[in-house]
Point group: C2
Chain length 367, copies 2
Amino acid sequence: MLTATRQGPVDVAVVGAGPVGLAVAWRCAARGLRVVVHDPAPGSGASYVAAGMLSPVAEAYFGEHELTGLLAASAARWPGFAAELAEAAGTGFGYRTEGTLVVGLTSDDLAEARRLWSYQRGLGLPITPLRPSELRDREPALAPRVRGGAVAPGDHQVDPRRLVVALRVAAERAGATLVAGPVRELSELDARVTVVAAGCGAAALTGLPVRPVKGQILRLRAPGGGPPGFRHVIRGYADGESVYLVPRDGGEVVVGATVEERADTRVTAGAALRLLRAAVDLVPELAEYDLAEACAGLRPGTPDNAPIIGPLPDRPGVLAATGHHRHGIVLTPVTADLVAELVVTGEADPLLAPFTPERFAGHRRHG
Amino acid sequence: MLTATRQGPVDVAVVGAGPVGLAVAWRCAARGLRVVVHDPAPGSGASYVAAGMLSPVAEAYFGEHELTGLLAASAARWPGFAAELAEAAGTGFGYRTEGTLVVGLTSDDLAEARRLWSYQRGLGLPITPLRPSELRDREPALAPRVRGGAVAPGDHQVDPRRLVVALRVAAERAGATLVAGPVRELSELDARVTVVAAGCGAAALTGLPVRPVKGQILRLRAPGGGPPGFRHVIRGYADGESVYLVPRDGGEVVVGATVEERADTRVTAGAALRLLRAAVDLVPELAEYDLAEACAGLRPGTPDNAPIIGPLPDRPGVLAATGHHRHGIVLTPVTADLVAELVVTGEADPLLAPFTPERFAGHRRHG
């Protein structure tokens, strides 16, 4: 049991001011602990490039059963988390609940989408196939040649850049302090508990097998300053290309994302071409949108695509909260809640059992 | 005959510090005249976006016979102009003479290219059809599916942004003065002769029928800092899309350009998609290049697509040098030489006869 102190080392040092680190800091500070967050450039990591889909359903993949469970658990926490955060920060962050349409452009694409949503329904996840006419009733902006799709009403979205701003305000209002500088070694920190939420940077700090997985993303903008011509998040398959389109209130549409096993942040012509082609094939009016931004980020990937959350076995007082890969935004509430619980009580929630650092102990000895 | 003066109004005021205005200023100053160039943002107009193809041949179109003659005359002046400018400015500007390949991706594309180059050969312009194997010997980077093409050995290139820098240095070294401010009315200027080389801005200053024609362009960059994997300018037709690829020494490849009858400078998703698709279809390795820049500019178009060069009939002492549309860079030497000659001698070269402002006298009365 960690109780708040008034002097000596701080109670909790958090390394990394992305959504996970800031949410952990907020939750810990709200429980009365003295918290310091370290980051040379808050919000500049994977979240800066992320689309912000809260999609346990549309993002559930074969062979990732346990991860899907955690995604669903965290998505279930999102409504409450969003309400609390809006209250605590006094600012919105683009939380929207219209749901996600999963669509296939060609019959091959639709077959691929169908295999996935059959699996998802088998897991008990809420996804409902729609007739093409129902699909177009929901989103007339979809191309007439889209062959079919389904709706995942519980798959929502948030704007990650605004989320970081809101979490930072909430954490600071709760008493956490932000130190704008890098942490090169954990031994630099003088804290009773250290939480490593440093994304790809966790590898160098802890030896955990976190690797960068490059993602390229585009931001389009509706002409004339209006909102985009569609309201749902659209997760589409288009001539074998998987793409998502996330409409924002301010007129922005995020088009993502490549998944590349490389560590540079170059924006390439080929990736932009693939994303634009799939986007315009699915929603033709996007051709008239401004191409506002093209950028690339590095997701913290792990050997089994699942996050690493829990105490490091060989480093007392150090917890990991990293490796969230493509799921950092949706997993923010459950990660923050369970890490804060772990910090305060020393007890790990059973939900975290599949995601402990111990599962990579062999790797770490040899790594 | 205008002779240099030492006091009173300056000899020549040039409105516009794009390539045409600066080259006119350089040529006039080199002849001893006192020259002032006015521009709030030198080099920020159409030239900033231009690719810099010096292509009388690959850019010769049906029904533009007289314009093609002027393009050819100016292209013939380019080698001497480039040598003089390099000497005068002491700096290079990416002048390259490898020539242009005109290629067609599909058999339909090739048929379109062939019709054009038959017309060009009929005009006596140097263009030589190549067998597919000859094409690939010259540029192995071309896609295997490119059906055929031709070489225009006299179609060269220059880097317009560097050209503006060099012309500015040359003009200033020759004694011209640059005033970094806008000209709202020609009556503000106190000069014996005024040359309006203000691109699209000429319409408001003179009433000439110059309209903005939007062009969108991309800049790619070869990965790893090396030069692009091809040396020729490539003017290609790809599934009905017309595109050019201009490789630069520094690793840049310019991909252009849309031709749109509109006056905004938004970069749209659809234009980027069309340019990228055609570029990658023609030269597959471009998919791996960085997408370094996407931008749009406004070309000064005229009702007959030809420039407007010569004295304004109803405004003594005012010459136009505008309306160069898609051809401002290639036409810079002939425009500068003949306008300087006109300023000094008052005599118009016969080459300029088809391009006088008088041809739009009716428009101007009603405009």
